[in-house]
Symmetry: C2
Subunit: 224 residues, 2 copies
């Protein structure tokens, strides 16, 4: 029996569930490819349809607009990361080791997970680095938030916050530190590769440097 990882998605994000059909799965697969290759601004439903060999109207039956599609694949990514986090920290009792695993999970370039047929997690990780913040940096962030579009991100942030509190129950900013870790892991990666003078990793261009930087930052601030 083949085990397939299914991530439960917020139905308000789509008009028709893309997991339930070949066309749907192709929409996800090719969206990730195209956004990864050309960026979200250059991404259109027309190009997507051409890439699939379907039509623009076909895509619109699944997603209202490209922003919801972006939020969909980003939500999927956070759900997948949450699963990886639970899996990797399962049976570990030391919260410091757990938190180190989290930092590594968020900072390291991801390998494609073969249990998810139509999703390339490595590309998705790159999309999160370059386009992730565009999911919420909009004028309609409030409405989107009311519809729970960012729940997977919030859940992850809470889970990491819990681990931080396990390390130091008195630490006052577990949520802020949690969102800081997530965002800075991505941002330093982007800067390292595109605006290297904003980092100290320009020579090596190695994510393990980001991990060291973040570990120092995090463990020095949560120690009493």
């Amino acid at each position: 029996m083949k085990l397939e990882l299914q991530i439960k998605m917020n139905p308000s994000l789509f008009l028709r569930d893309p997991e339930q059909s070949e066309l749907g799965k192709n929409i996800i697969k090719h969206s990730i490819q195209l956004i990864h290759d050309n960026g979200f601004e250059a991404f259109t439903f027309k190009k997507l349809a051409e890439s699939i060999g379907s039509t623009e109207a076909g895509v619109y039956r699944y997603f209202e607009n490209k922003h919801k599609l972006l939020v969909y694949i980003i939500s999927w990514y956070w759900g997948w990361i949450q699963f990886q986090l639970n899996y990797q920290t399962n049976n570990i009792s030391d919260p410091v080791i757990k938190l180190k695993k989290v930092i590594t999970l968020l900072s390291k370039n991801v390998e494609d997970d073969i249990t998810t047929g139509h999703v390339d997690e490595a590309q998705l990780h790159q999309i999160l680095i370059s386009e992730g913040s565009k999911a919420y940096l909009t004028n309609h962030v409030g409405k989107d938030n009311n519809q729970q579009f960012f729940q997977p991100y919030k859940d992850l942030c809470n889970a990491v916050g819990e681990i931080i509190l396990e390390c130091n129950p008195k630490y006052k900013y577990p949520h802020s530190l949690s969102s800081t870790i997530i965002e800075i892991a991505h941002l330093q990666n982007f800067f390292m590769n595109h605006l290297p003078s904003l980092t100290d990793f320009s020579k090596s261009k190695d994510e393990s440097e980001i991990i060291k930087y973040l570990e120092e930052l995090v463990f020095n601030t949560i120690r009493d």
Copy 2:
């Protein structure tokens, strides 16, 4: 005699210098207003021209496209912040006090500076929080960087990095910590106001909480 603060801008950002004419100054003024009110995605040159009482073609004589206009006003902001930083830290010898001033300057909501007639710094600060990262999160970040579009940001990052090194000459990540301070000051502000569960400041919604959080983060990581 009236002193007016002039910030030197990269001429590659514009076709005609907006500082040199009334129309130009109106373009800057109304761009800030419109981007602040409706977000960068909803901002078009047509709406801008209507708001000024000029024409689309008129705006295009100053800026090639709306992205360059965004980069222009963001560069202007970083130039202004650099000036504020130099002014406020002038004659202070203690680098710890300097660094605290920097954190406050970057985190606190800004008041309009009357010495700059056509620019509303308070609105500009809000634009930086919501739209700042869109200046570089593009597919053409490399080309833009080659044209020095992000120099004011880099200069600021270097200046803050210098102060960090004054606090602790052995600290290994002055640039990364510097870009982290700048970005997290904005990000936590955005989260506090729009996605409060990603922070620990949801009750007070007070920037001074962000300052405390950042100070703890920064000074714990740079102490040897």
